[in-house]
Symmetry: C2
Subunit: 309 residues, 2 copies
């Protein structure tokens, strides 16, 4: 479905803001609690939480994260799932979200309804409450930014810091080709896997893969270390080569470091008991700079997705 | 300063995302805490809070909320202050924020630096920590959405609900002409006033004025009541008439309802002790529908700012 229309009668401009907000609340249904814990006031009030809280923000922008080929219900779900993947990467559980919409008044009303219904279905599935939002006008543009709150369900929150020389590097699932395969909107955020990994003491650092392993690996690699990857161990999606796995981005898989003292077979067997259907690959290890083997992948040749270039 | 440039060397594209994020953290300075309580990971971790939390989101969009005439440092401050005004309206205290930026790669780097430095100065002034963000690309567009968290510092959080027939209606400050006077970015969010009002038991409902009194009043008026305004009591800004006060919007003043049992003189004297320099006006009262006097303002003639029309 195309996002914009030339017919005012089919567009959000035919409603105006006040009526549109009423419709949005209807489309969101049970995903949107009543005021004061939801929309309808200057702020939403959040239930008191006695756990460590997490916060993240990610948008979907027309022409960047989706186009007219992607069904609007998938776009709505993708907006939430991009953020869920960030919560998963810290081992957290999502709780509440707010959405800032910036759109052209000629945005098609039917498109927006499907977008919100897709978002709501996804929010119900992952028990996220949509508690607030804002709508602003722009010309020939559609973007939606979602801020997601979560809570840490383990005492320890896994971050990108904490990996050391000697650690093994692991990724969940398979990599590459996300844009062509539709994985970039069909993916399932690794919330269960992230929460379980945060409870395993041998897991020392974790992040989600959004810009491509080649770029993202740098964030988890300590300054004094190098990531030495085993090219043959990379879990490639069908039709993908190593370059695709390292550079395509939008994999939304988990990358994590496991203590070098842990045997691969032991860890893999624990994993398989928990997640028998999810591929887990030991893709390499962290070594000191002078230890890098000539035969290993030179990661400096793979940049991943660099925005604004 | 103009927002966009034709010279790539002057634009954010000359840096790319990774270097830009490094610069943004430098521009934000002490307003941006280190990871894990700030930028640099998949999520930011928030300090555990044992108080009721508040959340709100508001953007600034180029061409809607600002143009090339407004200095970028004022745009950055406005982005935060719009949200601070929402926290003020619930009697809360702001704590932490995340920002989603959507911009054209030809956005001028000097403009963006001034924007972030203005935002940071404002964040330091109001003790808000900028804990995370996202940058996405769009064509011929600049918008920034800020999600602000706050905490309730009183046991009671004031909402738009709670006003009753017989209550008096009050506004802080003066109304109208915000766009021409520059008040729309120069205003001071009423945080102290909001926090104090939330502690006064006779104050029953509160909100901030963003779309104009004529429209916003409807949100605080119960279904069975009508707002009967005294035209002569409206606090007009210089050069403004009643229509401007009701319809211009972006006043960012507080509108609240005080129990009809409270004498105006008593309340005004309490107020003046606290806020001797801030004008307070009793602009009318809530009456039942059949009580409306013919001489009172017919609010149905004043619409305030309706977005997306």
């Amino acid at each position: 479905m195309s996002l914009f229309t030339r017919k005012r009668s089919e567009s959000v401009a035919s409603l105006g803001e006040t009526a549109l907000i009423t419709d949005i609340r209807r489309w969101l249904g049970s995903a949107a609690p009543e005021s004061p814990h939801g929309m309808g006031d200057d702020c939403a009030q959040l239930p008191i939480s006695f756990e460590q809280q997490l916060i993240t923000v990610d948008p979907v922008v027309y022409g960047r994260h989706f186009d007219d080929e992607i069904a609007p219900r998938h776009v709505g779900a993708k907006l939430l799932k991009r953020n869920l993947s960030d919560i998963a990467a810290m081992g957290g559980q999502p709780t509440a979200a707010v959405i800032a919409l910036t759109l052209d008044p000629l945005t098609k009303l039917a498109w927006l309804e499907a977008f919100y219904r897709g978002l709501a279905a996804c929010a119900r599935k992952y028990q996220v409450k949509i508690v607030g939002g804002d709508i602003a006008q722009a010309h020939n543009h559609f973007s939606a930014s979602l801020t997601l709150l979560g809570r840490a369900i383990t005492k320890r929150v896994l971050t990108r810091q904490g990996a050391r020389i000697g650690d093994s590097l692991y990724v969940t699932g398979r990599l590459g080709g996300s844009l062509n395969s539709g994985h970039h909107y069909r993916f399932k955020p690794r919330l269960d896997e992230g929460a379980w990994l945060a409870q395993q003491h041998e897991v020392l650092a974790m992040m989600d893969l959004s810009d491509g392993l080649g770029k993202d690996l740098r964030s988890i690699t300590p300054d004094d270390a190098r990531a030495q990857l085993d090219q043959n161990a990379l879990p490639l999606n069908k039709g993908c080569d190593v370059r695709a796995a390292l550079s395509d981005g939008e994999d939304y898989e988990l990358l994590f470091a496991v203590s070098g003292r842990t045997k691969h077979e032991t860890f893999l067997s624990k994993w398989r008991q928990q997640f028998p259907r999810v591929t887990l690959s030991r893709i390499g290890e962290l070594v000191s700079a002078h230890e890098v083997k000539d035969s290993s992948l030179n990661l400096e040749c793979y940049f991943g997705y660099e925005h604004l270039r």
